[in-house]
Subunit: 151 residues, 2 copies
């Protein structure tokens, strides 16, 4: 049957926009699996492309490969992910993106205020200097969202 053809690593890598070495790496980490030919070469079912698509999308959203592995684990591997699976995960991603966007927006707006006041160039702008602010009037950044603080 044409539907069950298996793809070699180079083909999959090309179609997924990844290097073959990345696929081997993902396999070592347990993100994907491959069948083998009698000679030991990897052969992938087309479904791996879906899995890799998932990995790529998740990485864009900022998940680590470790987190992605966990997310993949919730999609029973034998089973084709349902629309519900996808909706659940993408809602979580959306929240993550919303957070990231909110954080950057807050930073940008704080920056815009600073352009007006010149405060960073002067003394202790809370945008950039949470530690020093702490020394004088409380603690933590005033403009930076939790997600962007590094302390």
């Amino acid at each position: 049957m044409l539907g069950t053809e298996l793809l070699p690593i180079g083909e999959v890598a090309h179609r997924a926009g990844l290097a073959p070495s990345a696929l081997r790496y993902y396999e070592r980490l347990g993100l994907i699996e491959a069948a083998r030919t009698s000679g030991g070469q990897r052969r992938y079912p087309r479904s791996v492309l879906r899995r890799l698509a998932f990995v790529r999308a998740a990485r864009h959203v900022g998940l680590s490969l470790d987190e992605i592995k966990d997310a993949l684990a919730t999609l029973p591997e034998a089973r084709t992910p349902t629309v519900a699976d996808w909706a659940r995960l993408s809602r979580a991603w959306r929240a993550r993106l919303d957070d990231q966007i909110a954080g950057l927006t807050a930073l940008r707006d704080g920056l815009t205020r600073c352009i007006g006041c010149g405060c960073l160039s002067l003394r202790s702008c809370a945008l950039s200097n949470p530690g020093d602010a702490a020394a004088t009037f409380g603690d933590g950044a005033q403009f930076l969202p939790e997600s962007l603080r590094e302390d």
Copy 2:
């Protein structure tokens, strides 16, 4: 004079929200300098806090330490950065943040569309799978902004 007191590294690190090791590292990279006691210990003028604030803020905006070094180089070290210096740099950062925000927003919106269609779970969602899309109808991601593509 009280105005010229010099701070030891631990104090500066604490106020800047960084580890002492990071300050030594920044010094090696040429981002900051320190005076030394006769015994060889670092002593920092308060102005280093401003410099570190700058570094922190720039890192939040996504600049590498190398880029930050270049940016710092345009602020003559002896001279207190003027409001104009700050405005110039923060305008550049703002553009960068605008790009980042736009990219994430585009990604989020693509994701939102996908929640409806379930396409990632099905075949070849351009959001997640630019490579496979290339195999079938052109090339490159359809939703992802340039800045977020990895190919």
